[in-house]
Amino acid sequence: MGPHALLGEVVTAIRAGDETMKTTIRVMLTAVLLLATAASARAQVDISGTWAQRPYTDSLGYNPGNGPTPVDFTGMPLNESGLARALALSYDTQIASDDRRCVPYTVAYMLQGPQGVRIWTENDPRTGEVVSWNFGFGGVLSPLKVWMDGRPHPSKYAPHTSTGFTTGKWENDILTTYTTHLVAGSIRRNGAPHSDEATMTLQLVRHGDLLIVSGRFDDPIYLDGPYHLARVYQQTGGAPPPAFAAPCSGGSEGVPEGTVRHHLPGENPFANELTKRYNLPMKAVLGGRESMYPEYRKTLKDTYVPPDKCNTPNLRAGIVACGGPGTYAPLPRERP
């Protein structure tokens, strides 16, 4: 008996008012619904809640109060175009311009900034199924919305936005998300660029009260290969993340509207900063795909001599730029 014939028998039996048949169908439908719900619930991990960042993975990117050095592209697979654009950008003055201060803050900023994250779902009111996971980060204009209902990504001609368009799926309790349709922004907190053709892939893994986010950027315009970043968050039990900042905040430095501060080729005044402070060869400061792997050390062995001591100046009062006791807020000894 095929499915159409079976369906035909069901309809016939219902029309005939067969009570035994109706009861059988009710039991079957209930069982199928329960099984489907159980399978769906089992396929997703609860990552909702409020999470604080543990900022030690990317301590130079986080660097409390300061962010990274203006020209520090170490370990980045920037291609020639990416590097040219990165060196031309005057990041600090751009984010201090009234009309450009939000430019760097696409959802890519969630893998760069010091902020925590608030995560919640939106559910189908009829079935309860998760329609989207939503990630609210301070500093980003609007949350990252990850569609879980199987909808396709829009046409390549659809508008690009600072949040882009993201879909996700669970596999082996890892949530993988894929973002397209971003406007151009930055992938390091000193303005290293991504183009509007960049994509962002995240893997989110939960272990107890920790949420580990592995990120990958691909960009055919500015990158020579994938660029991986990681962030670790810890559940804070409901209190808002301490670094939950206002969206793309900054202070105006009086840059006239319509002016885009920049550096002409070869004139970036910060280009030699890491070389002067840390003896790093300029080639290493500018990154490149090969610089991400251990064998790159061989190219440095004859040229790199560690400086005698950390000599990063304190850019703001009260900030210990070389780290040390008191750099990070103390946490309760007992983890939740």
Partner: protein, 256 residues
């Protein structure tokens, strides 16, 4: 045969299949207690093979020897700073302690390749070519034989759910959890940032597929009541390589 009876008979396989599916899920939760299968046989994913560190964050603190006094990234105590400020690489080498910067708690942050193999069904071996270190992860009821602490310590491993604590999960949805103790006092960073003999290292190893290669993310948690005022929690990327062509064992060095 009445149509209702026939429908019931036809529906039974559907219901039984559903019950079987639920059973499979539950089976994974209790597998350890019910079955003597080895850790290798119940592995959630294949972690064996060659892996290379992918260093894109904190590059100048990880790829090369950082300068004395560069402590960014550590919630270190005043006592730890005192010890780190006294770091003397020449003294470490003279004392035969040139591997002090390659201990278990700092090893995954270094520019290294890893070679992972099953030593036996319940023992996973992880070799690092940077400093030629070997870590051994013991599954099951393994007990430390005791003895003096070592650079790589005593490691106990389990396949751990990727979920909130104690939540059930299916057998494939697990990461490798490794807890290491009995570590010889060593450095979290090669420029002398210390961890003590009281430190505990907890790690999660998770593997996922990307279009060009498998990736592994290693989450490292160091708790040290002597030298850290917060747990140090960091995540590090490794990329799978097709073979050992780039495997390059190099001895420990306190200076380079």
């Amino acid at each position: 045969m009445r149509s209702s009876t026939r429908l019931t008979i036809l529906a039974m396989p559907v219901l039984l299949a559903g019950v079987w599916c639920v059973g499979i899920g539950a089976q994974g939760q209790g597998r350890g207690a019910a079955s003597p299968q080895t850790a290798q046989a119940t592995a959630a994913f294949d972690i064996t093979g060659y892996w290379t560190a992918v260093i894109t964050q904190d590059w100048r603190l990880r790829m090369v020897m950082p300068p004395r006094g560069d402590y960014m990234g550590f919630p270190m105590t005043a006592e730890a700073k005192k010890v780190a400020d006294a770091w003397d690489p020449a003294k470490d080498e003279a004392a035969g302690e040139q591997c002090k910067g390659y201990g278990a708690a700092g090893l995954m942050r270094l520019p290294t390749r890893l070679h992972v193999t099953w030593q036996d069904g319940n023992t996973l071996r992880m070799d690092a070519d940077f400093g030629t270190q070997t870590r051994v992860f013991h599954f099951g009821e393994w007990k430390s034989p005791g003895g003096p602490p070592t650079w790589q310590g005593d490691s106990v491993a389990t396949w751990a759910p990727r979920r909130p604590l104690a939540a059930p999960s299916s057998p494939k949805a697990r990461g490798l959890k490794v807890v290491t103790t009995n570590m010889r006092p060593s450095y979290l960073r090669r420029n002398g940032v210390p961890y003590s003999a009281q430190a505990t290292l907890t790690e999660y190893f998770d593997v996922f597929s990307e279009p060009d290669a498998d990736m592994m993310i290693v989450t490292t948690i160091v708790e040290d009541p002597v030298y850290l005022y917060n747990p140090l929690i960091v995540a590090s990327h490794f990329k799978k390589e097709p073979n050992g062509a780039k495997w390059d064992p190099t001895p420990c060095s306190a200076k380079w």
